[in-house]
Amino acid sequence: MTEAQRYTASEILAILSARQLRDGQVVFAGIGVPLLAATLAQRTRCPALTILFEGGVIGAFVEPGKLPPSTNDQRCTKRANMVLGSADVLLLLQRGYVDVGFMGGAQIDQYGNLNSSFIGDPASPKTRLPGTGGGNDISSLTTMLVSMKHEKRRFVEKVDFITSPGFIRGGTTRKDAGLLSGGMWRVITELAVFGFDERTRRMKVLALNPGVTREEVQDNTGFNLDFDEKMHVTSPPTDHELETLRVLDPERLFIA
């Protein structure tokens, strides 16, 4: 079996995202791959990872095979340390208790801004998307980890609408806008791991996923990518990571 056939795009997304988390951190996770990847990290390398959900959950410990359909469902509270109001759990971000905000994304640009509100002109949109949810709060207030599918139409030079701010227009524009903390840190796709330049705040490739070329990443990206001088190739998913992930999501709700 070749390397690429051992796992799906969603599986490598979840596994490489989970690897970004450190034991003892407090992570605010969105629904889908973030919830799954945070739970995977918790069940593998990070038993002391504290997972927060915007429905109002501190210290979630989601049951294998019982993934919640949103972060506002009762399944999110299983074995949690505390439940509280949803405004109050979001305020923990503002106070600074959260180490990493972890979200999915529909459209991202070179400065890590995310759009989940409009495709086309917001005044007369081609598509009205569902909106921010807690995404804007999380990305405004903490260090961000984003997992998303890598497609040219999703990786654009400039998003149609900034729903959840990354580094806005680069440089110091995020701080200048009044966002004094946080910012984009990592973007994980099925092709590569990305970070952001310290000065320009543009997205750059930190590591290629196993079997993926520079050209493949660039060809699927709607803007010119920088490649970090220390760029490396990520080690492939281990059997243990894949097995644990598949036990967590046997119905392939989020790893289809």
Binding site: G56, A87, G131, T163, I168
Partner: protein, 321 residues
């Protein structure tokens, strides 16, 4: 109806002074409770997404054919489709509007919003919370550090960015939201309206305090003595509440913590039907499940015993080790 974004404090207090806040029984039928909501009102909706949605009350308002309502809720799912699709509301204030993350975009929301005949007013999730909280605190706004720098704030002239008078830092003021009426579904309350909520409370406490009236639907009415045995579990005090309706399975097909999970087969069939044709599909759904049944019980029968029991088994299992 209020003609200003933020209610002047004197009017807020006048409204409060006129309410009967005495310790009195206020149990009414679903139909009677529906009459508390008048055309054009600002209606705050409790719960979030598919959880503890006051579906029975929304069902009743659709049957009574209210119109021009402005709905606010932290996160909106199929309830948003239903208030737009039935025509009872033309404005939804929320942070997120789709049917559920499993189903992608709502064709119903898209149909009504993209055509420009209904408004989806987007705020960040925390901003919605701070708007209800300011309303509940009796202050005209609260400051937040989110939304700044995004294009959401550009669409919300109602939010005002200022330089903090203490630190000079930029900060965003979000206006208080005091709905005319709040619809909240709980697991149990007494006939006075002392309400106990199990599990996730979402923004319901702030919403109850902010609203100028509250209609409580409850899975079960318990005695006041029972409430007094565990007052620490009471999340909404009786004097916030104007009407109490006992409606078992009052969130169906959404979930009610500890009692039932979402009825997923019904939800999936709903999504397929309305996304297939957001006008005709919705009309057929409303005819079958909202307008035709003689009672809430008949509506539940249409969802079906098998699905209700399955959801109940899953709902109760949250308390299993």
């Amino acid at each position: 109806m209020p003609d200003t974004l933020v209610e002047p404090y004197a009017r807020l207090r006048d409204n409060m002074a006129q309410r009967d806040r005495s310790l009195r029984e206020k149990v009414v039928s679903l139909e009677e409770a529906g009459r508390f909501v008048q055309d054009g009102m600002k209606v705050g909706v409790g719960g979030s997404t598919m959880s503890r949605t006051p579906m029975a009350m929304i069902w009743e308002l659709i049957r009574q054919r209210r119109k021009d309502l402005s709905i606010s809720r932290c996160i909106v799912s199929t309830d948003g489709d239903l208030v737009f699709g039935s025509g009872i509301a033309n404005h939804v204030v929320t942070s997120w509007f789709a049917q559920g993350i499993l189903w992608g975009l709502s064709k119903v929301m898209r149909h009504h919003v993209e055509s420009g005949n209904k408004r989806f007013e987007e705020w960040s999730h925390m901003a919605v919370g701070m708007r209800f909280r300011a309303g509940g605190m009796g202050v005209p706004f609260l400051p937040i550090r989110a939304m700044m720098g995004s294009d959401i704030v550009g669409q919300r002239p109602e939010a005002k960015q200022i330089d903090c008078p203490f630190t000079g830092e930029k900060i965003l003021l979000v206006p208080a939201l005091n709905p005319d009426v709040a619809l909240i579904h709980v697991q149990r309350c007494d006939p006075y309206g002392n309400a106990q909520i199990d599990g996730l409370q979402f923004m319901d406490i702030d919403l109850a305090l902010a609203a100028n009236s509250v209609i409580l639907t409850t899975e079960r009415i318990v005695s006041n003595d029972q409430i007094r045995r565990s007052p620490d579990q009471t999340k909404i005090p009786f004097f916030c509440v104007d009407a109490v309706v006992e409606v078992p399975y009052g969130s169906a097909p959404h979930e009610c913590y500890g009692l039932y999970e979402p009825m997923m087969r019904h939800m999936e069939a709903y999504v397929a039907q309305v996304n297939g044709d957001p006008v005709k599909g919705m009309q057929e759904y409303l005819d079958r499940y909202f307008y035709s049944p003689k009672s809430w019980t008949e509506y539940l029968s249409l969802i079906g015993m098998e699905e209700l029991l399955e959801a109940t088994k899953k709902g109760r299992s949250i308390y299993n080790d």
